[in-house]
């Protein structure tokens, strides 16, 4: 299938496959981690309602930090799909 493949075709196919793999892993793992964090925070809030606002603030900050790793994955994949700077090396 890849006997007469042009470099553009190979680059495009590899980009598609790796970006789908990357997005699937890169959103599943942070989502699991955030679910664990919310679970523990809710248990703590139910056990001690007085500390609820402290827990809520810590939970928000921690979820934003966990979310940022998913954003890094999304950023890299958007860059390689739309604005891949290495294309000039292969297509010239």
């Amino acid at each position: 299938m890849f006997q007469n493949a042009s470099p553009e075709l190979i680059i495009t196919v590899v980009t598609i496959i790796t970006s789908i793999l990357g997005i699937v892993l890169g959103t599943a793992v942070p989502a699991l981690a955030e679910g664990k964090a919310v679970q523990k925070a809710l248990e703590g809030m139910a056990r001690q309602p007085d500390a609820a606002s402290d827990l809520r603030t810590t939970l928000l900050i921690s979820m934003a930090l966990l979310e940022s790793t998913a954003i890094y994955v999304l950023l890299v994949i958007l860059i390689i799909i739309f604005a891949n700077p290495l294309n000039d090396f292969f297509f010239v």
């Binding site: 928000l60 930090l65 940022s68 950023l75």
Partner: protein
């Protein structure tokens, strides 16, 4: 992908000026005008805003946040306004260019060291930074990675929101981009809050006393 990435607007004295820079100037003027006008009509609103910000930072930092409130409050208001202003058609928000979040993160980096040194003195601050001496390289790399992560978090959230709206607009332009724009605004406000809270955490960690030396009681 025009309109997603920033472009050069005009050339001033031989320096090409991007449209995000023009947007930053316009935002500075608008914030200034708002502050002066609201101060004349209802100063209570400004007091409420300042009290809210000061309480938030004091809760996070553990010490009184009054000396650091000008820097942190300006960061909060600037980033929140910058993330929201892209809803006006034709305006590109300054944080969608990677240079603006990078500049803000560099400001936070230098201000952390400045406040630490002004609070503890140069030798005290370096001593606190290198308390177990073999952790000093890790500490330095950690400082750089904090700056990088602040930049990428803010920029990544903004640019991915914009790209998702652009892609959905290319597919179904009728009503579907609207919830994505709403999500982008919510994410923008949340990211402004997160950036400022993280900056205040770093400053609080730099100025707090690392160990409490017990005072010897003098018996008269």
């Amino acid at each position: 992908m025009t309109g997603v990435f920033p472009e050069v607007a005009f050339v001033l004295f031989g320096i090409p000026i991007r449209d995000t820079v023009v947007s930053t100037w316009a935002m500075m003027a608008i914030i200034l005008v708002f502050a002066v006008v609201i101060n004349k009509r209802q100063p209570v609103l400004l007091e409420m805003l300042v009290d809210f910000l000061a309480d938030t930072f004091t809760n996070v930092m553990g010490v009184s946040s009054a000396p650091y409130l000008p820097l942190l409050g300006s960061l909060a208001i600037f980033i929140a306004f910058a993330n929201i202003i892209s809803i006006v058609p034709g305006v590109i928000s300054p944080t969608k260019d990677i240079n603006t979040p990078l500049a803000l993160a560099v400001v936070v980096f230098f201000s952390v060291h400045y406040f630490g040194i002004s609070q503890k003195g140069l030798w005290g601050y370096v001593k606190d930074l290198a308390s177990p001496i073999f952790l000093l390289p890790l500490e330095l790399v950690g400082q750089l990675s904090r700056t990088l992560s602040l930049t990428l978090r803010l920029f990544g959230n903004m640019i991915s929101g914009e790209m998702i709206v652009a892609i959905i607009f290319a597919l179904i332009p009728l009503f579907l981009p609207l919830p994505m724009v709403g999500l982008g605004i919510f994410t923008g406000l949340l990211q402004a809050y997160i950036f400022t809270v993280l900056a205040s955490t770093y400053i609080g960690a730099a100025v707090e006393a690392s160990e409490i030396k017990p005072k010897k009681d003098k018996v008269d």
